[in-house]
Amino acid sequence: MSKNLIVRFAGEGGQGVVTASEGLAQAAAQVGYHVQTFSTYPSQIKGGPTLGQTRLSTSPILSAGDGLDVLVALDEYAYEYNKDELFDDGLIVYNSKEFTLDLPNAIGFDVDELARSTGNALSANMVMIGAVAGLANMPAKYFTEFITKRFDRGRDNDQAIIEANIKALSLGMKAVKDSIQALPEMDPPVSTNADRVLIKGFEAACLGALAADLDVFIGYPISPATTMLTFMQANLIGDNKHVGQASSEIESITSILGAGFAGKRSMTSTAGPGLCLMSEGIGLAWMAEVPLVVANVQRGGPSTGLPTKTEQSDLLMALNPGHGDMRTPVIAPGTVEECFYAGAHAISWAETYQGPVILLSEASLAERQQDIPRPDASNIDIAKRVVVDNKNGDTPQPRYLGEELTPFPIPGNIGAYTANGSEHDEQGDTTHLGKWHVQMTKRRFNKLKLLENDIYESENEDAEILIVPWGGSKGPAREAYDQLVADGEKVGWAYSMFVHPMPPNMIKLLLSKKLIVVPELNYMGQFASYLRTMKINAEPITQYTGLPFRKSILANNIKELISKELAGTL
């Protein structure tokens, strides 16, 4: 019996491999498995090497997994490109119309032919899912329920489609039966009463922002952040809400700045190239103290880079997106579940300290589909900005009085001032005097203190070496940490999605350690270098392949680093 199943469907874009993986995930999640998907594809619309992967498990899932139990390869390139990731006892299903494989652990059949034979050529996904179910000895009923639910759409031909798909499923199952040795039977799902949702990272982040009462969203399409814009176009449609498509990222950032100034909770989404174009506008929001949120979904960089691949290489820019003295608050969620809370916190942070906040996501996290406990917005403080109170008609205090946060005047109400990108006095008028620059600079940095909290995780706090991942590397890092602990390594763990300001007690903890090991998906070791600016002795473990970490490789690298440190050769 097995608690885990990792399946990859690989082929060309347009063949439905991603749909197959999501169908498998949906079906499995509905019967109570935990699931997580992962996909990669090139930057083009149809064609190009594409893969969709699903991991099922009887316990919560931390990463896409360390290898493959089943590889479904629709063409030879897909086989060649993915075969090395098979576990030793992994199995291959291949499309015999495209190529042949003479291997004991491989079975081929003509996927499309089988699909067509059901009378519904579109059921090829289901043939593939059936083959996987067959190999893992999963009962057909898990999937028939899913099929029935999915295609019950109140149309005339529902029943025909359902039947064809059920047939496709059984054809797939039959095709693999008895032909090669099957996988160990999959444990039945742990039935759970918990209210769970199956959700993608970007959806969770958007819903978090909506839960924090987002009002205005204006964005410009860019992979892998376009999904946030189109989600908002479809869902942020109530009265007094506004969603718009800008003509460029310069318009996105400056228009949500206008909306933030006018009193609304405002947000945009982008990826690296767009973040570059927002540089000047984010600086203006910092300077003029206008709340807004930029969701930056990281992809391979620099420049146009690798638009559909994952990376964690925009951190340095996110912390310091523009010229002059500034340090943007950054929240980088590490899991799909955290995406929801990060979305809500980002809005709350912007409102709380009255300035720009960067929600730093990643391609693989935004596109990952996972079952998570139904998020509960009532769990978090949704902050609203402190506004000038007009009740007794008194003259309000000047907009930028003193060196700490002051109430925000809302246009249309008393308290008129100028939100000024030039250095300014208390009313926002331009000034050339050093004294104002000193006071206002302190003010802008002081306000960051309002965002400090002590929400972080830690374990084995007394170890001299801690593993401290950030963002989407949390999952694989956690798996590696668990393995290292199991292996008897003396390591601890600390993590927070609050990158800046970082929880003060977490900083204290990190400062007290001999070594902080930071697994991160970039070349420069960006988070480690950020920690070092705080005098924390951090060493990165980097990977920059466009793909997430794998537990076992990561665990080995950490071990190596630790032994270097112990040997004093670091």
Partner: protein, 291 residues
């Protein structure tokens, strides 16, 4: 934003055209507030960067809200303000460099959205604040610090560009006639869509065009700026385009498209007609529930 602030001591050069624009604008806002008994705080003044943009700090009397942001971005900032609160009266103020060069990209999108705002453009054919470089409206062969041998790039015709970008209300003005400007601004505010008041506002220090505009009839020099005839039909697009493309600068309300619907009106109509329901976060989560 008050010129009485002792620490704010910005001054325009003596004779700068922007003084006339300021007077006109102050007057327009005053009249509007009186006429509608609307608080001045209902107005948001979005200014560009340049000598011209400093107008936001120099207004007399009760002060509106202001945004003095970054170079060239008045229009998208104004879009955001209107998107957030359609009730606000948004006035953009910018120079030719700010609005037409670095900010030129935003005119088309603003016109196509049809933002309900008024833009007061102070065109002196030069970059004043950075001390005299060529702008898109600097004329051919003019010598500036970036065109030491005379400008080679063709000058831009802003009126024509506004028209073909679909701007619905266009007035062409000279800074020496503040009363006309006041009227044009008020008409622009009334207009349900994008209104641009494009003003010749000479820079006495780097590009003094007063005499060019006024001409010198005694010495046989025709004025460059010519009042539109009483008979001008400002709803006639073709006429407006022909005038814009003449080699004179018209003074008056060049174009006022009929039947304009502003962005906010279009959105409201669409929302009503489609009736798509706003689902709560809870409802949206339920669509994703595995229960």
């Amino acid at each position: 934003m008050t010129k009485r602030n002792p620490d704010y001591d910005f001054k325009w050069c003596p004779g700068c055209g922007d003084f006339g624009v300021l007077r006109a604008l102050d007057k327009a806002l005053e009249e509007r507030c009186e006429a509608l008994s609307e608080p001045i705080e209902n107005t948001v003044f979005v200014a560009g960067i340049g000598c011209s943009g400093n107008i936001v700090h120099l207004q007399d009397g009760p002060q509106p809200y202001g945004i003095h942001g970054i170079h060239g971005r008045t229009l998208p900032i104004a879009y955001g303000v209107k998107a957030a609160n359609p009730e606000l009266n948004v006035v953009v103020a910018a120079g030719d460099g700010d609005f037409l060069s670095i900010g030129g990209e935003h005119i088309g999108p603003a016109a196509r959205r049809n933002l309900d705002i008024v833009c007061v453009i102070m065109d002196n054919g030069i970059y004043g604040l950075t001390k005299g470089q060529a702008s898109p409206t600097t004329q051919l062969n003019v010598i500036t610090s970036t065109t030491p041998l005379g400008k080679l790039d063709e000058p831009e015709n802003p009126l024509e560009l506004y028209l073909t970008n679909g701007v619905g209300f266009i007035a062409s003005m000279v800074s020496t006639k503040p009363k006309d400007i006041t009227k044009a601004i008020l008409a622009g505010i009334e207009y349900p869509g994008l209104a641009i008041i494009h003003i010749q506002s000479p820079c006495t220090t780097y590009n003094d065009t007063y005499s060019l505009l006024k001409g010198d009839v005694k010495n046989g020099i025709e004025p460059l700026a010519i009042d539109l005839p009483e008979s001008h039909d400002s709803t006639d697009y073709d006429k407006a385009l022909t005038i814009a493309r003449s080699n004179k600068i018209p003074v008056g309300i060049l174009y006022s498209k009929k039947g304009s619907q502003s962005m906010n009106q279009k959105i409201a109509t669409q929302k009503q007609s489609t009736n798509a329901p706003q689902r709560t976060v809870d409802e949206l989560l339920t669509t994703l529930s595995l229960k």
